[in-house]
Each structure stands twice: as C-alpha cells, then as structure tokens.
Amino acid sequence: MNIVQLSLFAVAGVLLAIVVKKERPEYGILLSMVVCVCIFFSVAGRLSILTESVNRLRELAAMDKGYFRTILKMIGITYVAQFAVNLCKDAGYATIAAQIEMFSKLSILLLALPVIEAFLDLILTVAA
C-alpha cells in the first residue's frame, strides 16, 4: 500500500467522519480510530523489515542488544501513547490526554534509567 493509496484512504475516512460527526459525534471518533488502525496495519509489515535491518547493523557494530531493545521499546511506548493522546484530544478530552502523555513520559524515563547508570559508571571508571 503506497503513500497515494494511504492518503486517499485517510481523506475518505475523514470525509465520512465529518458526515457522520454532525449528528452522532461518537461515530466520528470510532471512524477515526479505525482509520488509524488500518493505516498502522498497512505500515506494520515494513516496520518489521526496518527492525531486522537495524538489528543486522547492530550486530556488525557489535553493539549491546539491550540498548537497541530499549530504543525500540521507547518508540513503541511513544506510538501507543500518541495514538491514545490524539484520540482523546480529538474527542475533546484534553485532561485525559495530558494524563496519558504524563504517564508515557514517566515510563520512557524509567526505561532510560539503566542506560544513564551505565553511562555514569563508565565515566567514573574512566575518571577515577
């Protein structure tokens, strides 16, 4: 599914959502949710190819697998959180969106902690 089909699909979804949203706002949100899910599924295949090739590059550079996995987790958390946040904002519930955003930032920070510790240990060993 190339970019032209994708954008046509999205525009069709938006137009339908506008038509339905006037009388029944809940269908507009459901429609936009389904459009997002369809777009993700059409792109998901390429994402796995991306992760495999980056993995191969990582093996060439003999980098530790843990770091790459944390980066991948961060991307996953950001994607899911942004999906929920923007849906809540579309529906008009900015406070709930802010809560989700806050929690996603905290969980990413939590993920980053071990990396920071490893970095500090490295500095200490070099400096001391």
Binding site: L30, V37, L47, S48
Partner: protein, 64 residues
C-alpha cells in the same frame, strides 16, 4: 478488509441517525435512543477486536 470497515461504520452511523429522526418525529423518543445505543454497540463489537489486534501487534513488534 480495511476499507469496507470504514464504509460499514459510516453506514451504521447514517442509518442510526435516520432511524432516530424518523422515530423522534413519530413520537417514540425512547426507541430512538435504543436504536442509537444498539448501533453504537454494534460498531463497538467491530472496532474493539480491531484495536486489540493493533495493540498486540505493537507489543510483539516493539517487544514491549
């Protein structure tokens, strides 16, 4: 699969609106509300497994 899901949901939305208007004008207010509720439940039945599938794919893809 993906495109006709969009049209199905839009069709249910429009149908529920029309039925609601007809029922409202014929005086049966509570039926109109029940119809819109039924339409919403139907669409939710279609959408929720779809969303669940999305989140499981994301989990496996990003190793969450």
């Amino acid at each position: 699969m993906s495109v006709n899901m969009i049209f199905k949901i839009a069709a249910v939305g429009i149908l529920v609106t029309i039925l609601g208007q007809v029922l409202k004008h014929s005086g049966r207010e509570e039926h109109a509300f029940l119809i819109s509720l039924a339409g919403l439940v139907l669409v939710l039945l279609w959408v929720v497994p779809y969303i669940y599938e999305l989140f499981t794919t994301v989990q496996t893809l990003f190793e969450l």
